[in-house]
Symmetry: C2
Subunit: 452 residues, 2 copies
Amino acid sequence: MSKSPSNPKGTRDFLPHILSKRNYILDIIKNNFKLFGFSEIETPALEKNSTLLGKYGNEGDRLVFKILNSGDKIKKANLKAHSENNYSDFIDSVSNKGLRYDLTVPLARFVAQHQNDLVFPFKRFQIQNVWRADRPQHGRFQEFTQCDADVIGTNSILQEIELIKLYDSVFSDLGFEDIVFKINHRSILTALAKYIGLENKLSEFVSAIDKIDKIGLDNVLKEVEHLTENNSISNLSEILSQEKNNIHHFDKLFQNILHTKKGIEELQTILEFICQSSSFKNEIRFDITLARGLNYYTGTIVEVISKSDTKIGSLGGGGRYDDLTSLFNFKNASGVGISFGLDRIYLLMEEQNLFPKHIDKSFDIIIINFGLKYLKKLYPLIDSLRKNGKKINIYPDNVKLNKQFSYANKHKVINAIIMGENEFKKNQIIIKNMVDGTQSEYLLSEVNSELF
Amino acid sequence: MSKSPSNPKGTRDFLPHILSKRNYILDIIKNNFKLFGFSEIETPALEKNSTLLGKYGNEGDRLVFKILNSGDKIKKANLKAHSENNYSDFIDSVSNKGLRYDLTVPLARFVAQHQNDLVFPFKRFQIQNVWRADRPQHGRFQEFTQCDADVIGTNSILQEIELIKLYDSVFSDLGFEDIVFKINHRSILTALAKYIGLENKLSEFVSAIDKIDKIGLDNVLKEVEHLTENNSISNLSEILSQEKNNIHHFDKLFQNILHTKKGIEELQTILEFICQSSSFKNEIRFDITLARGLNYYTGTIVEVISKSDTKIGSLGGGGRYDDLTSLFNFKNASGVGISFGLDRIYLLMEEQNLFPKHIDKSFDIIIINFGLKYLKKLYPLIDSLRKNGKKINIYPDNVKLNKQFSYANKHKVINAIIMGENEFKKNQIIIKNMVDGTQSEYLLSEVNSELF
C-alpha cells in the first residue's frame, strides 16, 4: 500500500471549487445545445478495438488506451508474437476493447448502428470524457472532457450558419467580448495548393499552413519551399501576408480552378448571413491560413480564437465532413459539427475574471449545531427553506461556536442560523451575516426563504 | 472493418429519449444533494492498480478492468510468469492502471490525498460511471453510473438522520409513494450472531441473513443450521419471523451482550427523530434481517425498497463505516454515506409511469424551412425566442412540407412556425399546433415566447 496515495499522472481530481466552475461552463454549453434543437446522447467509455483502431492514423492507434482481456482470456496471450517483437499481434491477443479516444468515431458507430431508431437529419450533442495515452505534460491530459454538437444527414449550409450562431451564443453567455470565428473551406485550401503547384502534396501543404500561428509565416514558407520545385512560392508569401482575409481576392484568383467556386460561394453566403444578423455579438473572419489539420473535413472549417490571448490556442473548432459514417458502412450522410475546448475556455475565463462571484459557494445557509433537541425544533424551518431551493448545511457536530463559524467562513457561506438555549425558549432564531458580522433576531414563525 | 458495428457487450448507448429520463432522475438526485449541503467532486476513471487492488476481495480484484501499459512499456511483459501460469505477475508486468470499480475507494484515496485542501467534516457527492468485468447479463452492466453522497470526519448521528431525510426527499420528488427505508445496525447483527453462538462465524452468518429476500426465511435457516452445532437455531426462526421489526424486543433480548446497547440507542434516536418529522413522506422500519453484505460497514445500515415491487431489489443503500480512509493512511475519520441505484429507479419509474409527460420532447418549436430568404426574415424572432428559453429546431433543408411535418411529429414537437411566400409578403407567420392541427396567423411583430 502506497503511503501517499495519488491519482495517475495526466489525470485530475476535481475539488468542489474547481468543479463548480467547470460545470458553470458546461451548463451554458449544454443549455445552448438544447436551445438550438440538439438532443443529448451518451456512448460507453469502452469501445471494441475494431471500432477504434485504424481511424486515427498509426500515432492515434498507439495512443488508444487498450483494456486487458479479463478472466481466462488472458491465458491466450500470444507470447510467440511478443518474443518476435511483433507487439501489435501480442496486443491483439490480450485486448479486444479500448477507451473512447474522441466523440466522433463513436458517433459514426452510433449512427450506423442505430440508423433505424434515429430521425434524420440527426442533431445530437454529447459531453463525455475521452482518453489518450499521450505523454502527460502541462495542459495536456490523458483524460479530458469533449463537448460536441453534430448534425448528420444533411448538406444544407443552414447548419454551418446555425453552428456559428450557436458558438456566438455560448461565448456571449460565458461573458467573452474578444472572440473571433475564423472560417475557411477545404476546397479553397485545395485550390491554393493547386495554384502553387502542390496539388500532389496537399496533405503536407495543409499541415505546413496549419502551423502558421505556432511557427509564423516565414517558417511556414520555408517548409512549403522544401515541398516545391518551381517558383510559385513567391506568390504565396504575398497571398498569405496581404490577402489572407480577403475572400474576393481568391474568388478572382482561383476562378479557373475546378471545384473552387462552390466553396467560395458557400463561405460568402455564410459570411453575409452572419454579418447581417443583428444578434451576432462577436467577429467572423475568412482566413485562408485556417487549416485545422487534415483529418476528415471536406467542406467549411471553423475555429474559435480569443483576440486578447492568441497564445492559448483555439477555444473550439469544427467543420463539415462528407463521409465519416461510411467508415461503418452508412453511406451518403454528410455531417457537420463543432466542439468546445473546455480546459482552455476555463483558463481564459480565469484570466479574464469571467466567472460569477460566489460560484464556489457550496451552500447558502449554515445551521449552527447546539444538539438534537434544538435541531428538532428547527427542522420544520430547514425543511421549508430547502423546499424553497435554499442549500442548507447543518454543522455535523455540537462543538464550540468558533469551530462552527470557522467552518462556515472556509465555505464562504453568508448566512448562519443560530438557536441556542435563549432562542429555543423564545421560539426565536438569530440570523447572522458571516461577512459583516451583523445579526438579527426573528420569531421562528416569521422566517421565510426571502430573508436570505 | 465490421459491417455491423456495435458497442461492447455489457455496455449501453443511450439514445435521446432514454437519456432524457436518466437525466431527469439524476437532476433530482443532484439537486437534493446540493440542498443538503453536499459539494460535488469528480475523480478520474483511471486509477493506479495500487489504489484499486486489494480493496474489493479476490473476486473484486479479478473484476477490475486493467489498462494495458502503452508505448515501449509493453516490451517488459513478464512472459516467463505467463508460461508458468502465474497470471497475476504477468498482469502486473503489463498493467499499472485500471478503471474505477466504485466511487468509495476513490473517495478514500481522494480524501487522504487532498486532506490539507479539504474542510472537515467533508460532505461530498459524486455521480460518475464505474466499470466491472462482470459477465454481462440481463440488468447487469460492465459500465454503469453510481450516485453517492458521503460525509467524512464525524461520527455524529445527525448524519444518519440527514441522509435518510435526503433519501426521503429524493424519492418523494421522483413521485414514489411506496418507499420503505429499512434500517439496522451492525452491532445488532453481531449481537444476534453471539446470541445464537455464531460469533466466530459472523461473516458467514451475515452473508446467509443477507439472502433472506432472495431465498426466503426457510432456506436462510437451513444455511445457518449448517454453520452451528447447538440448538439455538430454533430461537432464530421465531426471532426472524415474528420479531424482526421489533427493536424493543432486541433491546431486552440483547441487554447482556456487550457493545450492543449503543447500536440500539442510536437506531432508536434515529427512528424517533425521523418519525416525529412532519415533512417525512415515506416509511421507515427497523429490520434485523437487513445485512447489506459485510464489506466496510461498522454502524447503522440502511436500504431503500419499494413495497409494490420487491422483486426489483434495493433502490439504494448505505451506512456508516468507521475506518475506510485508513486504507490510505488517513486515520480516525468516521464516514457515512448513501447511494442511489439509477438503473433500478429508472425501471421502477417506467413501471409506475412516474416520468412526466413530454420528457422525451427534444425541442419546443420547429421552424419549417422554405429557404434562406425566409429564414433571414425569421431569425430575429428565432433569436429572441431562444433568448427566452424556447428550444428551437429549424428543419435543415428546404424540402416538401409533409417531410418536414413528419420529422416534427417523430420528435413529438407541438408547435410549428411557418413562413411561406404569402406570409413573407405580409410580414406574418403561421403557428401550427401539430397535435390538433389548428393554425393561426400572427404578425411577426406580435409574436413572443408566451404564445408557446
